[in-house]
């Protein structure tokens, strides 16, 4: 197939006609679209001109002419049309021209496609596509970009003031900025974004300075939140996504960072006031706004901490003041109130402040401040222990359901975390626990174990090991007692004649108890021996030490009017039993027989003769015990109850080191302890 050589001018002439046709189509003039034949011809022309043998190989010239075609079109038609328009009209024209240009590039590069395949690579020249875009950029964009940018920013500000603008138009315009970068964002950033950010800062700075004067904190925050939302929306509608963080950062800076202090410190509506008035929603908003700002939450957390501390301290002060009126009750009320306070502000931390560590820390520090204050001379550790005791003992001041108790115990344990001398708490708790266990005042075993588990989780096994030992001891003691009773049944000769219940405790677990020996009445001595015998059959290598101070006895007193059951301590029982053999005894005789010291004896005798129940009558009938007094059994004594408890003022808290491995507490039970005129039943 022979091909005619095409001369440059000739060939170009043909091409030029095609280009003109294209231009007419773009201008919207009536022109039939290209047929495939025309297309092929144009393509073929280029092809042939490039594949001809030199010197008819016109690749270079065609490449140049390609560019010139654009330049010519732009300078003659595009630029003038843009220059004569302004603002929004200019933007529209620009978008239209850009669209057209892209179409033109596509068509021409298709026609000239052959150049792209070999020529540009060989000469390392930019591709046709790039050439086309570069023409537009250098001739059109360069000239108008400043004006365009100003027009766009003006429209954005208009929208900020509340007017409606053509968002699609803006999107198209900004797309030009992006596309003209040809892969890089530098055009968008330098020619547009930079100024946008500046303008945004200025705009919001103006707004903020007037709002901060007029608005309350919640109102200001609402407006800020709204602004941020709108700006975010703006980005999604027509700005490039890369602008989002920068834009929001500017807005945040002007609205929130610059005026942070003024905002938070606002007299009647600032952070402090919001906390005071429990404005949960506003506080949540505050958190949301400031959490994105680096270190923005610190002042808020600080105010929070101060507020909680103040509230807590006020509660403590209240309790302190009121304690003079009703001692004992106020402490319990205080603990309850502190628990409530904790619940309230913990809820704030989890809800408003989204569990942020800063706020957890603030809450913790606040509580640590006032939880360690003493109230009416008692440390918080003691108060807390007393509170627990009230819940756990029978007939305590709190009457709650099982779940309520569980819940409260959990909260108490949480409060413990804030108390600095936890060991002190452990000591107080242990003593009260001992009392509950030994005198059977514990309301519910499960609760006892439950709180120990919680304490163990919070403070470690070391903390609760002794307490757990105590609880276990009680369980073992019950089993022990059962085998003791079996033992007695099988050895009736060994039976002491009195019902005896013994609780065996392990030293080390229990608080130390002082117990001084006294001369036991014969009946009791026998009991001790019997139990010792039994115990040796069970375990050797253990030493028993008896703590009489914790024991109780039940004695049947046959008074003239009626018999009354007396519940007394072991020591009191010992005194009373002396009157089984003598009618009248002097102070010194009693002392000699029992071998007690003066202080203890005076106390004992006082409880039996000068207190509420006068079991013994005293000569002379004074209110105090003197060493020259004489005592007699008071047969005239009576009471409307059949069973009375005679208090002994011994307390069980002494600190003595005990060498024995085991400490035994005797719990004497009833039946036939003789007491004057009493017959063996």
């Amino acid at each position: 197939m022979e091909r005619k050589t095409i001369e440059l001018d000739q060939g170009w002439d043909y091409m030029h006609k095609g280009i003109k046709k294209l231009r007419r189509i773009l201008e919207g003039l009536p022109e039939p679209p290209f047929t495939s034949e025309e297309y092929m011809m144009l393509y073929t022309t280029i092809y042939n001109m490039c594949t001809q043998k030199p010197p008819y190989d016109y690749s270079q010239q065609l490449y140049d002419k390609y560019r010139e075609a654009f330049e010519e079109y732009i300078t003659s038609t595009v630029l003038p049309s843009l220059r004569e328009k302004h603002d929004e009209f200019m933007l529209r024209e620009l978008v239209k021209r850009w669209g057209n240009h892209k179409v033109m590039v596509r068509w021409l590069s298709r026609f000239f496609h052959y150049l792209d395949r070999y020529f540009i690579a060989r000469r390392s020249l930019p591709a046709l596509n790039e050439v086309g875009l570069t023409c537009f950029r250098d001739l059109v964009y360069q000239e108008v970009c400043a004006k365009v940018k100003d027009a766009v920013i003006a429209l954005i500000d208009k929208e900020r003031e509340g007017d409606q603008i053509d968002r699609a138009l803006l999107k198209n315009v900004l797309d030009i900025f992006v596309e003209i970068g040809m892969g890089q964002m530098d055009r968008y950033e330098n020619d547009f974004e930079e100024d946008l950010l500046q303008d945004t800062s200025a705009y919001y700075s103006r707004k903020a300075s007037s709002w901060i004067e007029e608005d309350s904190c919640p109102e200001y925050m609402l407006k800020s939140e709204e602004c941020l939302r709108k700006e975010r929306e703006r980005v999604s509608h027509y700005l490039h996504s890369s602008s989002e963080t920068k834009l929001l950062e500017k807005v945040q800076h002007e609205l929130l960072v610059t005026y942070a202090n003024r905002l938070l410190e606002k007299e009647h509506s600032g952070c402090r006031a919001l906390l005071r008035d429990d404005k949960v929603e506003d506080l949540s908003r505050m958190y949301r706004l400031y959490c994105k700002i680096p270190r923005g939450l610190e002042p808020v957390a600080n105010v929070f901490k101060q507020h909680v501390t103040a509230e807590g301290t006020a509660l403590v002060q209240q309790a302190e003041d009121a304690a003079s009126n009703a001692p004992g009750v106020q402490e319990q009320v205080l603990i309850r109130k502190i628990i409530k306070l904790h619940d309230k502000y913990m809820a704030y931390v989890t809800d408003c402040f989204q569990n942020h560590t800063l706020f957890h820390k603030a809450l913790k520090e606040a509580f640590e401040v006032f939880c360690n204050k003493t109230v009416t001379g008692s440390s918080s550790a003691e108060l807390l222990a007393t509170f627990c005791d009230n819940i756990l003992k029978k007939g305590g001041s709190e009457k709650l359901s099982d779940e309520a108790i569980e819940e409260t115990l959990e909260k108490v344990v949480k409060l413990l975390a804030y108390i600095s001398d936890k060991d002190l708490f452990a000591e107080f708790y242990r003593k009260k626990l001992a009392r509950r266990l030994l005198f059977d005042r514990s309301a519910n075993d499960d609760h006892e174990r439950s709180i120990l588990t919680k304490l163990k989780q919070q403070c470690g096994g070391q903390f609760t090991s002794k307490m757990e030992g105590m609880v276990t001891d009680l369980t073992l003691a019950r089993e022990n007692q059962a085998s003791f009773e079996d033992y007695l049944r099988s050895n009736s000769a060994a039976h002491p004649g009195i019902d005896l219940t013994v609780t065996v405790l392990t030293t080390g677990f229990w608080p130390s108890y002082k117990s001084f020996d006294l001369n036991l009445p014969a009946e009791m001595v026998k009991c001790v021996e019997v139990f010792k015998g039994f115990y040796e059959t069970k375990t050797k290598h253990r030493k028993l030490t008896w703590i009489y101070s914790l024991g109780t006895c039940q004695i049947n007193g046959k008074f003239d009017q009626k018999s009354i059951e007396l519940i007394v301590s072991t020591y009191q029982a010992a005194v009373l039993l002396l009157f089984n053999s003598s009618d009248r005894l002097s102070y010194s005789e009693i002392m000699a027989q029992l071998n007690l010291n003066h202080d203890d004896l005076v106390r004992l005798l006082h409880s039996l003769s000068c207190a509420k129940y006068k079991i013994l009558s005293k000569e002379p009938n004074t209110k105090t015990i003197s060493q020259s007094d004489y005592f007699e059994f008071n047969s005239k004594f009576t009471d409307k109850l059949r069973r009375i408890k005679v208090w002994d003022s011994f307390s069980a808290v002494f600190f003595l080191m005990l060498f024995s491995l085991l400490v035994v507490c005797i719990y004497w039970d009833e039946k036939d302890l003789n007491f004057v005129n009493l017959s063996l039943c």
Binding site: M1, I25, P32, P33, T35, S36, M40, Y43
Partner: protein, 98 residues
């Protein structure tokens, strides 16, 4: 066969070849033509004229299109070219960017 899925290629000596659109897209040039913006009156009819390609070559080219499709789908066979056609075939291929 529907009109839409086929294209008619017309050689210099007015021989017509009706090919599947998929096959024809193997040629970059033809693909450009058919996907150009603006839409041709003719692309709707799906006809392309090649005033410089003879029927013999065009025929061989059509066969090549189908072979290329098959090859890309995994069927690796050989495409035999008669030596006397080689030069013209190559030039046509260059022209069509195939």
């Amino acid at each position: 066969m529907k009109r839409k899925d086929t294209v008619k290629l017309i050689s210099a000596d007015e021989m017509e070849f009706v090919i599947d659109k998929d096959a024809v897209m193997v040629s970059q040039t033809i693909r450009n033509l058919l996907t150009s913006p603006g839409g041709f009156a003719e692309t709707k009819l799906g006809e392309v004229t090649f005033p410089e390609i003879s029927a013999v070559i065009l025929e061989r080219i059509c066969q090549y299109f189908y072979w290329a499709l098959q090859y890309s789908r995994g069927k690796e066979t050989e495409f035999h070219i008669e030596p006397e056609l080689t030069l013209e075939l190559m030039m046509a291929a260059n022209y069509l960017h195939t």
